[in-house]
């Protein structure tokens, strides 16, 4: 628990986009892990990876049952997040951090504030929209564009070897 909880919790919040059920889902994953331990079963490989995999399955069920996403869409999303989780990082933590810092610095104050609300404070889009008294769709689109721009910028930085 000590070693894996924080990561799993953040992962759950990421997958559910900060929904209130994120904690319940991560708890369920850990309780399943406890059951497994209680039954004397071992984890094949890293226990953290097992928890993340279980969490993905739980989130998948949650997408289907609570978010009522169509089955085929859920299947696609599950595949995507699994692949995203398993994909090797583009760069080392340090490089990425440096590139990100650089690119964040290029954002306008308004965009930077939006990013901070979303990713530093972990607010949901509807909450941000309420705070800013704007339409949720507008906020979502704006964030989407900021991410695109950041991604391009970071990739460019890394490609130019300017991450560090």
């Amino acid at each position: 628990v000590d070693r894996h909880y924080e990561g799993a919790w953040a992962y759950s919040r990421f997958l559910t986009r900060g929904a209130a059920e994120a904690e319940d889902l991560v708890h369920e994953a850990f309780l399943l892990a406890f059951d497994r331990l209680a039954a004397g079963e071992e984890f094949a490989g890293d226990a953290g990876a097992w928890v993340r995999g279980t969490l993905r399955n739980l989130v998948k069920a949650w997408w289907r049952e609570k978010r009522r996403l169509p089955r085929d869409v859920v299947q696609h999303l599950a595949t995507l997040v699994e692949r995203a989780d398993e994909a090797p990082s583009l760069a080392s933590r340090q490089e990425l951090q440096a590139a990100l810092d650089h690119c964040l610095g290029l954002l306008s104050a308004e965009d930077r504030e939006l990013v901070a609300r979303r990713y530093e404070r972990g607010l949901r889009i509807t909450e941000i929209a309420a705070e800013l008294r704007r339409n949720a769709a507008t906020v979502r689109v704006q964030l989407f564009r900021i991410r695109q721009a950041l991604k391009l910028c970071v990739e460019g930085q890394l490609a130019r070897g300017m991450g560090t």
Partner: protein
């Protein structure tokens, strides 16, 4: 309809609803490997972005982790009781077979028990001596010799005791427990047969099926010292798990899995045993803490304040002056109790609702707080026969219309002309008699006529209709539903693992006195009689009779709705005091609420149009001071239209509270912030608004703390922003206002 698949993906992940067409477009887009790769890259980048930027998650994660551990400990207990029960729905078939087998085994077990082979008695073998009792049994202390010994309990626990170990056999059938005073024990517990707890001087290890090792050492004590109960020593407890999972309660809960071990250190306190007169006790005690405070502590009893009707203790009052061990149990109040514990020290006087659930100590139930101002806190209630409402004789006094001021007096038994006024707010005295039939009871309302006291009324109610049920709960108007309102009833169910609470919601139908109930009692606690019809979802109830129980927030006494009619002058209710004693009040309410974290709706009395003055006098536990009462009109719940767009500061009176919300009756709209778009915020005045605190990683700690501290009746100032519909968020500030 958006056609941009990236946007659709974003919306799907965000939880927004997609139209059928949009879902189809997204699915089609993601069928392409190229797009999937792009989507993976997008998701991966967002994950990294969140990971890099979310630096403040540490605290939220830590709190969440604590909640997980508490949940795991609770679950471990529950699972250990459900022998053979399925753990996952997907294993239904297997589980059904297992359940059938378990039933078969249970039946076989019952047959064996009937044939004379009852629950196995504790058995010891090897090199040991029994100290202070003739044989190995509950309460026996075993001192193990140089060759070690073995102890078998309940047919499912095998304890290997190392040389020079000392244990006391505790527990009972299906809930075995051993108190490890010194030495080392390896415990093997067969899963699914029962509970097992190993009590150490500084904490408890609770397990389901598992094998684990526990040792207790006293590093500072002299070798060979045997005076275990008198000297305070540093104790070190080591727990090592071989298989299974154990929950260690050593101040906090730690869950250990196979191969894990942990060392706990603390101070040994003389462990108090449960006096025989408190066996089966359920009630409220007042006493002084005599040990260091952790999840378990010792309490010297000064007063038995309340004995619940369900209590089986024969003479609890004889325990006054004795010391008992009390443990804070795993129940819905756990967090609040742990919070309360932080503020308690040895020597503090406390009031605690405690039940004997374990046989060797008491467990804290709902009420647990410091006693303030001495012994007038606890109320005494008459022990009643269960099945409240069945076969009872009620003694109730009523007043006639037009009485200016009705006073009731009672002549204590055998005391001639001495008359005593009753303190107000105590309600009626019920005398119950055994009654096997729930239906067709006759209630009598009777009064004795005394000079100058008005007319005597005698009223017999009609026999109760079949299907009639009496319930006590909270009413809430639900204009947006297919019923007038809901009645939430919390039932307490006693199980082997303790008392559990179950909330049942009844739909109040638009028949009988339902409309009157919702109109008069929304947000309040009531006792109702009605006909319940089970349904597919929530059961429906047709209200036949009702009585509002909650009046002003006070010290938890029962509050009857004042008998009051238009045009009356002042009405005072007075109460009986028990014969010649100062025991506090006699009341009907089962659970004493102290206004802290109750999750109940409680409303202060309000003055209604056309009514005369209603003066309510309360017997306060501390000095009898009355809280200031708002003089506002009862305006019901604020509508969504009124709340729409509001952002600002409110002042009002707390009429209800839950763990994450507070219900205010708004007295004043102090300020509308610039961003507020509410058209007529002043329309909130006099209305009820519910302010919910968003609990998440970013929850404002000061607000969480303030919410924990306010209680019904407090006047507060609160920051509020409209969320959606009738929902308001509590933001920025929640602070108590000084009494006017």
């Amino acid at each position: 309809v958006s056609t941009e698949w990236r946007e659709l993906l974003d919306r799907a992940l965000e939880g927004e609803e997609l139209s059928g067409r949009e879902a189809e477009l997204l699915a089609r887009a993601l069928a392409s490997e190229e797009r999937r790769s792009e989507a993976v890259a997008l998701l991966g980048f967002e994950g990294q972005l969140r990971e890099r930027l979310a630096g403040a998650e540490g605290e939220g994660a830590a709190l969440s982790r604590e909640r997980l551990l508490a949940k795991a400990a609770l679950r471990a207990k529950a699972v250990s009781l459900r022998a053979g029960a399925p753990r996952r729905l997907r294993r239904v078939a297997v589980a059904a077979a297992a359940a059938a087998a378990a039933l078969l085994l249970a039946a076989l077990g019952a047959l064996l028990a009937l044939s004379g082979r009852g629950y196995p008695e504790p058995q010891a073998s090897g090199d040991y001596a029994v100290v202070g009792s003739p044989a190995v049994g509950r309460g026996a202390r075993l001192a193990v010799g140089d060759k070690g010994a073995e102890l078998r309990l309940g047919g499912y626990c095998r304890l290997t005791l190392d040389p020079n170990t000392e244990v006391v056999v505790r527990g009972g059938a299906g809930r075995e427990a051993v108190q490890l005073e010194r030495g080392r024990v390896v415990s093997e517990v067969t899963p699914g047969k029962g509970r097992f707890a190993l009590l150490t001087p500084i904490g408890t290890v609770e397990v389901k099926g598992t094998r684990f090792l526990t040792s207790v050492e006293y590093p500072d004590s002299l070798k060979g010292e045997r005076d275990m109960g008198k000297l305070r020593k540093s104790a070190v407890v080591t727990v090592m798990v071989v298989t299974g999972v154990v929950a260690c309660h050593f101040g906090d809960v730690a869950v250990l899995g196979p191969g894990m071990s942990q060392v706990f250190a603390g101070h040994d306190e003389p462990r108090a045993s449960l006096p025989p007169e408190l066996k089966g006790f359920k009630g409220i005690l007042v006493g002084t803490i005599t040990s260091e405070v952790s999840r378990e502590f010792n309490l010297k009893i000064e007063k038995i304040a309340t004995v619940w009707p369900e209590s089986k203790a024969e003479a609890p009052e004889r325990a006054v002056g004795k010391t008992v061990e009390i443990a804070v149990g795993q129940n819905r109040m756990l967090e609040q109790h742990l919070h309360a514990l932080k503020g308690m020290r040895k020597g503090d006087k406390v009031i605690v609702e405690a039940f004997d659930l374990q046989g060797f100590r008491l467990t804290v139930m709902e009420l647990f707080r410091k006693a303030e101002g001495g012994g007038s806190e606890g109320e005494v209630r008459e022990k009643r026969i269960p099945h409240e409402g069945e076969g009872e004789v009620r003694e109730k006094r009523t007043h006639r219309e037009g009485e200016g001021e009705a006073r009731e007096k009672r002549v204590p038994h055998g005391e001639g002309e001495v008359r005593e006024k009753r303190p107000h707010g105590e309600g009626e005295v019920r005398e119950k008699r055994p009654h096997g039939e729930g239906e067709g009871e006759v209630r009598e309302k009777r009064t004795e006529r005394r000079e100058g006291e008005g007319e005597v009324r005698e009223k017999k109610t009609e026999p109760r209709a079949e299907g009639m049920k009496e319930l006590t709960g909270w009413v809430k108007a639900t204009p947006d539903r297919d019923c007038l309102g809901i009645l939430k009833v919390v039932e307490r169910v006693e199980t082997e693992e303790g008392v559990r609470e179950k909330a049942v919601v009844y739909r109040i139908m638009n028949e009988g006195k339902g409309e009157g109930l919702v109109r008069e009692a929304s947000g309040r606690r009531v006792r109702v009689a009605g006909i319940v019809t089970p349904g597919e979802g929530e059961p429906a109830i047709v209200i036949k009779e009702f009585r509002v129980l909650d009046g002003p927030a006070g010290e938890g006494e029962r509050r009857d709705k004042p008998v009051h009619r238009e045009g009356e002058g002042e009405v005072r209710e007075k109460k009986l005091r028990r014969d010649g004693e100062h025991e506090g009040e006699v009341r009907e309410k089962k659970i004493r609420r102290d206004g802290e974290g109750e999750g109940e709706w409680r409303e202060k009395p309000v003055r209604r149009e056309g009514e005369g003055e209603v003066r309510e006098k309360r017997t306060e536990g501390e000095g009898g001071e009355e809280r200031p009462k708002p003089r506002v009109e009862s305006g019901g719940v604020a509508t969504a239209e009124i709340l729409e767009g509001f952002r600002g500061m409110l002042e009002g009176t707390v009429v209800g509270k839950a763990s994450d919300a507070v219900i205010l009756r708004v007295d004043k709209v102090v300020k509308s912030w610039q961003s507020s778009t509410a058209k007529k915020p002043e329309a909130m005045v006099g209305k009820l608004v519910s302010l919910t605190l968003k609990y998440d990683a970013n929850a404002n700690e000061a607000l969480v703390k303030a919410l924990g501290e306010v209680k019904a009746g407090d006047r507060v100032a609160a920051g509020a922003i409209h969320h959606e519909g009738k929902a308001m968020r509590l933001v920025e500030v929640l602070r108590k206002l000084e009494a006017e």
